[in-house]
């Protein structure tokens, strides 16, 4: 009894925290003003994975690809309840599009071993592409169910979920193994547990350790976050990162909030009346 689940998570800039303060004088975004956070829908996926473990037994592994700093969200995942955390980091993984990302993730999942369910958020708030989940499923040759809102039933070999579709919902059943992408209305993610924070606050990936640190001691204490590079995954660097990405960015334009012809309206009866009269006169209400 019990199910092995792998949750794919991503550290992202908090694009929802864009306030006036994060904008520069020229109207463009000040990127460094945005904090790095756990991608919100990945937290919903993690929560669903932890609920499955609590209800049916099994284990949950969190997996992320990113720079060394991404170990932060793996610690967060340990605080919330995962059994295992793996960081995929290598210079050759950088600047990957969704296809190259899904290639590395799928190889890492194969290395983790037997699994029943792969889960991730529907999309990440930096790109909002919703592509990595389905592409990982395709690379693994397993079925996918996207836009999952609720776990309905899980029995040996079959999972039934409620998912969002155009103008409605459907109840979909799939054999295991399967990859699910989870939407933000699925649940309220649990906060990190105080007990687990005490236990895992010193958990580190190798890339975070100072030189000369005794890695074996950290490992003995169960505080070593596993870290894999291209060699350990046995992947060809030509299929990773920018080299493995069929898409290229031709151009980036910063969005500048340009002022249109602007009229200030006083919040007085006279001001509001002038505004409404203008709108009536140019047939805006017709």
């Amino acid at each position: 009894m019990g199910y092995s689940t792998v949750v794919l998570i991503k550290q992202v800039p908090d694009t929802t925290a864009v306030t006036a303060k994060a904008m520069k004088a020229d109207g463009t975004l000040n990127r460094s003003a945005l904090p790095a956070v756990f991608n919100p829908e990945d937290l919903n996926a993690l929560e669903m994975a932890l609920e499955i473990k609590e209800r049916y037994g099994g284990d949950v592994c969190a997996l992320t690809m990113g720079p060394p700093a991404a170990a932060e969200i793996l610690r967060d995942a340990l605080f919330r309840g995962v059994d295992r955390a793996v960081l995929l980091t290598d210079r050759c993984f950088a600047a990957a599009d969704t296809l190259a990302t899904s290639f590395v993730l799928s190889r890492a999942i194969a290395k983790i071993g037997a699994f029943d369910i792969i889960m991730c958020g529907r999309q990440a708030i930096d790109g909002n592409t919703a592509q990595v989940g389905p592409q990982v499923a395709e690379k693994l040759g397993i079925n996918q169910i996207t836009y999952v809102e609720e776990l309905n039933r899980l029995t040996d070999g079959e999972i039934v979920v409620l998912r969002e579709i155009e103008n409605g919902k459907e109840l979909a059943a799939s054999p295991l193994p399967v990859l699910l992408t989870v939407i933000n209305t699925a649940n309220t993610p649990r906060p990190p547990s105080v007990k687990r924070i005490m236990k895992y606050k010193n958990a580190r990936a190798a890339c975070e350790l100072e030189q000369g640190t005794n890695v074996d001691r950290i490992k003995e204490k169960g505080l070593l976050i596993e870290q894999w590079d291209a060699d350990m995954l046995g992947v060809d660097s030509r299929q990773c990162g920018l080299n493995g990405s069929p898409t290229r960015v031709k151009k980036i334009t910063r969005v500048v909030l340009t002022g249109k012809e602007f009229k200030k309206v006083e919040p007085t009866d006279a001001g509001l009346q002038t505004l409404l009269e203008e709108l009536i006169q140019d047939y805006t209400f017709d």
Partner: protein, 340 residues
């Protein structure tokens, strides 16, 4: 020189009707094909799709590939991706476009991964242009420029797929203009036997429940929208009152939806609906870019906010610095006197 491939549009449908989002994509495909000097083909898949082909032609397709099979009803990822991949491999289109609906976003990445080609999600514009590789200066002409917002709408990226074919993209709903149907349009309807077998069905759909949207933000001429600055669900009723008086629909920001002031159907912006009404009244909305990209095309934007530094004033035509709890009742009262 090799023959150039066509521009394809995957046509999504439900019941006996084609999704508007797919017709919007057809309009854009028509433009791209004209610029490339190639044809537009629609791809219809389902239980029995022949009756829908004529409408696809009227909306701009030169030819329609129709794959009908009981195995393709209802939609499942594995059956559709297998049959579509086989058809793409056989006919070699240059460009394959899908609407960025839940179904399009489920299918497209699976197909792109299987074909090992590039895919750009949620494009807001598509053009034909050139791309020079930065290192080798190798020049690619007549390439699809896939334009989309990223970083929560704070940047606009132009993405290309220089080497792999077809070039694939999904297109945001509500951005491209709906083309005018041409009753005189002629096209070819080509039935194709889909490459799919019973063993390909992995997902079983047990039940479907459709809730027709009661909110028509896309078609609304007037939208009164509220943000977190409304403060509470109770205060949000002022937005409803103003919309009612002006004969408009009610919109909201993600922050207002997340705060529970109103439900998601009303959300305007990147993860909601994109709107272009004649009048947009933004009440207590500070103006996160995610929201602005969904409404900046409105004809007239009136912003009410007590923070004069709020970014919403940067794109508004009329700005009222004041408390929404005073300004909205004032607008309602004065509008009633003026319209009588």
């Amino acid at each position: 020189m090799q023959d150039k491939g066509d521009v394809w549009v995957f046509i999504q449908h439900r019941g006996n009707d084609i999704m508007e989002a797919s017709l919007e994509v057809l309009g854009k495909a028509r433009e791209l094909a004209a610029s490339l000097g190639v044809s537009v083909a629609g791809v219809l898949m389902g239980g029995a799709v022949e009756p829908l082909a004529e409408k696809v032609i009227r909306y701009g397709a030169d030819r329609v590939y129709g794959m009908s099979s009981p195995l393709l009803e209802p939609y499942t990822t594995s059956t559709f991706s297998k049959a579509l991949c086989s058809l793409i491999r056989a006919k070699k289109p240059d460009i394959v476009l899908l609407a960025a609906t839940p179904q399009g976003r489920d299918l497209a990445p699976r197909v792109a991964s299987s074909l090992r080609v590039g895919l750009t999600a949620d494009c807001t514009d598509l053009q034909i242009g050139t791309y020079s590789e930065p290192g080798t200066r190798k020049k690619h002409t007549d390439i699809l420029l896939q334009i989309r917002p990223a970083w929560g709408g704070n940047i606009i990226a132009t993405i290309v797929n220089p080497e792999t074919r077809p070039q694939m993209a999904t297109i945001r709903e509500g951005i491209m203009k709906l083309p005018q149907p041409m009753d005189s349009a002629r096209g070819e309807s080509i039935p194709v036997s889909p490459d799919v077998s019973p063993a390909d069905i992995l997902t079983t759909i047990r039940e479907q429940l459709f809730t027709e949207k009661t909110v028509d933000l896309k078609g609304a001429h007037i939208i009164v929208s509220g943000g977190a600055g409304m403060g509470s669900r109770e205060n949000f009723s002022l937005v409803w009152q103003l919309a009612h008086v002006l004969g408009g629909e009610v919109g909201a920001t993600r922050a207002a939806v997340d705060a529970g002031f109103i439900d998601h159907d009303h959300q305007v912006g990147q993860t909601g609906t994109t709107v272009r009404p004649k009048l947009y009244i933004a009440c207590g909305i500070s103006g996160a870019v995610q929201h602005l990209t969904g409404m900046e095309e409105a004809g007239k934007i009136v912003a009410i906010n007590n923070d004069q530094e709020a970014p919403i004033f940067g794109i508004a035509h009329y700005g009222i610095v004041g408390d929404v709890r005073d300004v909205i009742p004032g607008l309602i009262r004065i509008y009633k006197t003026l319209s009588h």
